[in-house]
Symmetry: C2
Subunit: 302 residues, 2 copies
């Protein structure tokens, strides 16, 4: 019987969104602008790819979804904060996200900055507080805090965003934007958090070193494939990415698809998907969800 | 022999700033705008009150400065991020901080937002990574991450800033700004991080519950006194706070001094200082630094 990815994704999405809804409530006090702004972006939908990867990876090494859920939710909160801040007028200046007006468009810049700050800070609270409550050991939680803060911080995601802004300012004409430069930017800006979703979930589930190594390669590969496909979708206008297509071209941003061309980009994404699936060959059927996710992401609607 | 607070503060400031300088280097790669912007604000001086409190509190219960240093530096990084974001045009729109141009004035808004995000994220990395290296147990580090993220997050410092922005928008005329409202805002906006500096430092040093309880009261009291005195200095223009005086009045911000008057504010600050010192009466001479800091802060130059 083939793996039923649709049901898997739907079930895990509900698990994650119910937990996030609960975590982001403040029982007993009316919602202020801060809470509204936080909930607006955190509960606005999205694929929940990163937290699902954390859970699937935990399951792949024999762990339970419940063990990984705190770290999964924390990573989604960090991802959401990064979207809220990236959309700000002084950054990418986007008006739409996931098909709805961006946070600052609705609540104003100050509230959007604070909502992002709060989601980032509270993510570490959720990781540890809920992680301990789920029975995860303090040693494993310290490792999760360390790995995730590294992936999201000045040597990971934030560095990627800084490089992306520099590229945007420099433009294509500077001649300095190369394919490997774009790959490096993507591997930091989106890849680092996707990779750590996979490895942190697995560590919580009790993975050994050789398993972590394979899963890191899996995470790197799908992360980069994911971004290249996003670029392609942006050019071709296919898929359902909930934002204006062609927006990257408007910003004169250099993209993988823009430099390598559509065909080459699709080929590279396909290679990366194969690498990801091959990295899982030491795992048994408990890794079916990870395999199916890689193939699903590699075959998105273009 | 009276306690030599000057030497204590100077020595600890050097310890903290040397460590921060080391932590915020990226050996082997040239400084990009992101790193420059981070270092500009994190190494721009300041009293280093919060990290010194963490160290002094650790020492008060018999711990060493080295044990507390990672948590101390992490708290100072969180404090610095909050200043960088609070100064942004969409927030308090300040051009000067600690006597020099604010981060966004020098590096632009996008870089300032990213530098703040990076300092906040990296703070949790420093806390755990350096904490483990200093021999602090994973269980204590989890508690530090939990306590500090709570104090800095949506139910602490960030909520205080959100309330402060609301007060500013509403203005004094709304009739809703009361002294207890101002105290609540301060206790969240600046008090929560000062209090957790004291309690987190003590926990790392091995404090028991009754010690933590006393130190929490100490931290709450000096935190509020500190803010009330800042308000008074702002009105009177005394002291050396490195920013334009009268700036709060210009923003039509409601301050403690503005509502209660200067005399009443000084009286309240003096009471709070006494409460702080009294809270330390179960501690021996190892708490001399904490006592001296409370008296020093309570007697600032007004």
């Amino acid at each position: 019987m083939p793996f039923d990815l649709d049901t898997y994704l739907r079930t895990k999405k509900i698990l994650i969104e119910d937990k996030l809804d609960l975590l982001l409530r403040n029982p007993g006090s009316p919602l202020g602008t801060l809470e509204e702004s936080i909930r607006y972006s955190a509960l606005a939908g999205g694929k929940r790819l990163r937290p699902i990867l954390a859970i699937a990876s935990c399951e792949a090494v024999g762990g339970s979804p419940e063990q990984a859920l705190p770290v999964a939710c924390a990573i989604e909160m960090i991802h959401t904060y990064s979207l809220v801040h990236d959309d700000l007028p002084s950054m990418d200046d986007d008006a739409l996200r996931r098909g709805v007006p961006t946070n600052h468009t609705v609540f104003g810049e100050a509230a959007a900055i604070l909502a992002g700050d709060a989601l980032l800070t509270d993510a570490f609270n959720v990781m540890v507080d809920q992680g301990l409550a789920a029975g995860v050991s303090p040693a494993l939680l310290c490792e999760a805090v360390r790995d995730i803060s590294h992936a999201a911080g000045s040597k990971g995601m934030i560095k990627g965003q800084a490089i992306d802004l520099d590229i945007e300012v420099a433009g294509e004409d500077s001649g300095e934007v190369t394919l490997s430069g774009i790959e490096r930017m993507h591997s930091l800006k989106t890849g680092a958090l996707i990779e750590v979703s996979v490895t942190a979930g697995a560590k919580i589930g009790g993975a050994d070193e050789s398993q972590i190594e394979r899963l890191a390669l899996y995470g790197q590969s799908i992360g980069l494939a994911f971004q290249i496909i996003d670029d392609v979708l942006d050019v071709e206008g296919g898929g359902d990415i909930g934002k204006e297509t062609g927006v990257d071209a408007r910003n004169e941003k250099s993209t993988y698809a823009g430099i390598a061309g559509i065909d080459e980009s699709k080929k590279r994404a396909s290679e990366l998907t194969s690498t990801a699936v091959a990295a899982l060959d030491i795992f048994d059927e408990k890794a079916e969800a990870l395999r199916a996710i890689a193939l699903y992401m590699g075959g998105r609607n273009y």
